[in-house]
Symmetry: C2
Subunit: 125 residues, 2 copies
DNA sequence: CTGGATCCTAACTGATACTG
DNA sequence: CAGTATCAGTTAGGATCCAG
């Protein structure tokens, strides 16, 4: 019977929340975007190559596309520096701070889930 | 100059958080999972067809796969009811509560982002 | 009602090489 | 250094039909 865990909202509100959820997930879809953002949170402005190193395994082409997506959604800025060999810096916009709670929540969940998986492996052994 | 918005962590901790982030995003990857979870939060236990209606646009095959993924990750339970035409109920597990903050954060962000986009359209007009 | 089987396509991802 | 071009592989997601 297990009392079902839920909290019913006003239908209209629920629909609005559903739409918001779709918008948000669309925005940060893709395999790398959250990681890129987390790295920028941690290190501040980073250059292309540094981001590539930090996002272990990503290829330049894919990184380039992900960065463009993020820039299009105004979560990061792209700045070309007039240095000897041209360098480019990527940094978070203020708007990107809005998404930080999401990332923190994801990290927390990831940590807990990892523990849970370990417990199961322990039980299975 | 713009003071870069960041907060540097201990490297080892950062790596651990990056891994957790990857784990978590992998878990809820896909176009529909968050929506399914949000609906279950809102309505409690739901049957296959109700979930399909709530996740407007999803096909049975895809819904089936998403539900299996969620069940494999122990975020939902699948219960077969011995009713006349067999029905099946899906409900959240306690573990799924851990992911609720993520969804709330995503919804919040989605709402804010929507407002932001509207502002831009207003400026463009 | 539930959801598997099949087929299909667009999008994502990757390896490698190359340019400004 | 910061990418883009090309080629190729994989796969997520959808359309349709059908079975228990």
């Amino acid at each position: 019977m297990a009392a079902t865990v839920h909290c019913e909202q006003d239908p209209a509100l629920h629909q609005e929340r559903l739409r918001a959820l779709r918008d948000a997930t669309e925005l940060v879809s893709g395999k790398w975007k959250f990681g890129i953002l987390l790295n920028l949170y941690n290190y501040g402005a980073m250059r292309f190559k540094d981001l590539q190193a930090a996002s272990a395994g990503i290829t330049p082409k894919v990184l380039s596309k992900e960065l463009q997506d993020l820039e299009d959604n105004q979560l990061i800025t792209r700045t070309v520096n007039a240095t000897k060999p041209v360098t480019v810096s990527y940094a978070l916009t203020p708007h990107a701070l809005e998404i930080q709670p999401v990332i923190n929540a994801l990290v927390e969940f990831g940590l807990k889930h990892r523990v849970k998986i370990k417990e199961q492996l322990a039980l299975a052994a």
